[in-house]
Symmetry: C2
Subunit: 224 residues, 2 copies
């Protein structure tokens, strides 16, 4: 969960990277409206982000805008897609075909964003050797075998917390470069392995905490 300084090299702040897909998806709607130019204040207004933040973010990408006019929509989109690597497809295996796992398999944006899930794994005998959304599902014991046939860069972990580390170890041993961890528990891995943690629970924590804020008594009176 630690933010290593891997952004130092290029100097692009991590939050900027995370905002880029947002810009991209918004700009597609602008393109559909056949608007050739879009200005930072316009984007800012729509996306509720500070306009100077947007200008700053774009400057990291070396996109040049036109004074008084803005940026060329199609150029922005192209630069974003190149930067985010949407045209370079990375293969991925997903482990844990539960509710969330199935939803991820069906999430159609991954394809446009340059990730292709090429096999799924589980331990449930009922689903092994079946297909979800045209994706073949195998027993986890076949992971090594399948990755030898078609190497993948990304391993997606959607198993319960107590199984996650074991799966991560297997993925690392098998040569996966990046792990996308939806298990809600942190993983140990060598420094050269990219780990991205996505946890739904932290979102709910924020919401509930903010709801509490309206009723300060609840925790201001709490005895330490």
């Amino acid at each position: 969960m630690k933010n290593t300084k891997d952004n130092k090299a290029s100097g692009i702040p991590v939050p900027t990277i995370r905002r880029l897909p947002l810009y991209h998806s918004f700009l597609l709607t602008i393109k559909n409206k056949e608007r050739k130019y879009i200005s930072a204040p316009d984007i800012a207004n729509e996306l509720q982000i500070d306009p100077t933040q947007i200008i700053k973010d774009f400057s990291y990408l070396n996109v040049k805008g036109k004074t008084k006019v803005g940026y060329v929509t199609s150029v922005l989109i192209k630069i974003l897609e190149e930067f985010l690597g949407y045209h370079i497809s990375r293969k991925a295996f997903i482990v844990g075909i539960g509710n969330l796992g199935s939803a991820l398999i069906k999430y159609h944006r991954f394809h446009n964003e340059g990730m292709e899930i090429t096999a799924g794994f589980d331990i449930n005998p009922e689903i092994i050797n079946t297909k979800t959304n045209n994706l073949k599902l195998f027993h986890i014991d076949q992971f090594q075998e399948k990755i030898n046939e078609t190497p993948v860069d990304i391993g997606i972990i959607v198993v319960p917390a107590d199984q996650a580390q074991k799966i991560a170890d297997l993925m690392i041993k098998s040569g996966v470069k990046a792990i996308w961890n939806f298990s809600g528990t942190p993983l140990s891995a060598p420094d050269n392995i990219i780990i991205e943690n996505t946890s739904i629970d932290s979102g709910l924590a924020m919401i509930k905490w903010k709801l509490h804020e309206n009723k300060p008594l609840i925790y201001k009176n709490r005895m330490l």
Copy 2:
């Protein structure tokens, strides 16, 4: 998407709040092992977070630890649950019963974390008046009617981006206090409405960017 200064009042950093569910889930495993005490360095080691960060986080909660021993596991868990409001159940409606929507409905942790989804809405006639995981599904036109019957604090939006604002407006009009937005597009809302955005795409952006980093040529040679 803008970070307002709503954390100023209590002085607790937003990242701290987001880490709390992680601590909670880890501490449950410690409790299961019947370990009475747990120290910050031990947690740090397991969760890959800086130990002083953990001590700092706990200090915001006014938990007191024992020098040389650590914290009482059960006390930590209790304080975390109180702070995160796990014992105060908030009702929620979910709109958009697609793949992700269905996965969220089945996500069992929400119950423990104090959120209960009490109805689902969609426009697909095939699923209206059916049930998913014992949850009744209605047409979106019945939203106002249903919320009048049983008010909810939280609205969960899992519809496509171009439908999201419309649904948000409906929720706000109906008196929802917080919106959890999975649509991937930002929402306009009055300041008193709590908005939490959860987007899967930013996670993939990070992964792909870090994978690129290993091959700097790809974007260092990119013509601006």
